[in-house]
Symmetry: C2
Subunit: 231 residues, 2 copies
DNA sequence: CCCAACACGTGAATC
DNA sequence: TGATTCACGTGTTGG
């Protein structure tokens, strides 16, 4: 492609001989370019420059190799911009960080008792089903799950998804339940909320002696909350 | 820092005048460098080169800006190698892809009935608790969850974590249950496995007519599997 | 002293 | 053509 050595000699000759005093030759005292005593140091610096050139090529290869890996990982065209690839990568890593943050924030039981019942009104109401997203946090007790199942059964609601996490005596329950529009109207949200509220009140009334699991220290019984946060 | 325009003029003079025939001047027919009629096109190409230089600087800035964003996102020193940063980014994105793959593979119910009971023997046996990781997939039925709760209750095991996913008539249950070593020995794994096996057999016996949810098409009842895969 | 990493300006290619 | 992107060789700096 490009002239390799010839123009280099030419260039270094020019910069060293003409332009500046910061010459490539350091040991010689001669003022004449291409003088005899300069040939040795010239060879040395030439070899150094060749090494330098090679090293720089290797470095570029390394960087571009990783860039190509990123291109394939992001499944984008091999002719996509370097800058664009990096921008997309920034986006991806940000998403990853956000995800892990949400996981730790949204999957652990909260300290306060909370109930959230969301009615997915927009989501496929015409197929005869209503979908609720239920989430509540409260003190754990042995019969909580059984009571919850009974409640949903009595409301004739079917559990499609359940994610139940219990840690340190607190429990968090995320449910997706479906109900028939034939049996339920819009007021079924209230039924569900009230049933869950009674569930949590039962939970905070029952005083359980729990052997020190988890952390090991026997925590003082958390007092029943004055009110349960309803969302 | 570096000489901006002066050496450029010098260089372009050299390459254009001395080295090669691919000169910077295209329209002129003069053979003399710095001839009068060349000054115009020289100015033009000089301006072009200045634009080019500027554009390249902008490009480098863009790339390095993204690289710095990646540095901060990966919380690594601002003097970390470009190549190293990119290598770490490749690692991260691979992990992300792996995670999302595992999520879709490990959270959806399998087509075949399966039971897996893992005894975490290495994990804190001396605090008087045994920890089991239970996972099973089977056909869904209304009383499945209730039966499961009864089984665990009868075995005096406490559910620490539960992840229950039901889709398309199939259900997948991932549980973490703890048992007392006072009440259970090593044989409790077998108890648990057998109880779950009976649960799944009950599941495959009961023939349920299910209204076509999800996909909408009424799927033919899947025949009871000849055997349940035990892990 | 060299080595490794960087920014820079430039030529070439692509659109 | 003009704009944009890339690879290259080089000068420079810090360990």
């Amino acid at each position: 492609m490009q002239p390799e050595v010839s123009d280099h000699i030419f260039y270094s000759f020019l910069t060293g001989g003409f332009c500046d005093s910061s010459s490539t030759t350091t040991t010689t005292s001669s003022f004449y370019p291409f003088a005899i005593e300069d040939t040795i140091s010239q060879d040395k610096s030439l070899a150094a420059l060749r090494n330098h050139k090679e090293a720089e090529r290797k470095r570029r290869e390394r960087i571009n190799s990783h860039l190509n890996k990123l291109r394939s990982l992001l499944s984008c065209n091999s002719k996509t911009d370097k800058a664009t690839v990096l921008a997309k990568v920034v986006q991806r890593v940000k998403e990853l960080k956000q995800q892990t943050l949400e996981i730790s924030n949204e999957t652990l039981p909260s300290e306060t008792d909370e109930i959230s019942v969301l009615n997915f009104e927009d989501c496929s109401k015409d197929d005869g089903r209503i979908i609720f997203k239920v989430s509540f946090c409260c003190e754990d007790r042995p019969d909580l799950l059984q009571d919850l199942v009974k409640i949903l059964k009595s409301l004739q609601m079917e559990t499609v998804y359940a994610d139940i996490t219990t840690i340190g005596g607190r429990t968090r329950n995320d449910l997706v339940v479906v109900a028939d529009t034939e049996k339920h109207g819009v007021e079924s949200v209230k039924f569900l909320q009230n049933a869950l509220k009674s569930l949590l009140e039962r939970s905070s009334q029952s005083v359980v002696m729990r052997r020190g699991g988890g952390g090991g220290e026997m925590t003082k019984r958390r007092r029943a909350p004055d009110h349960i946060i309803m969302v």
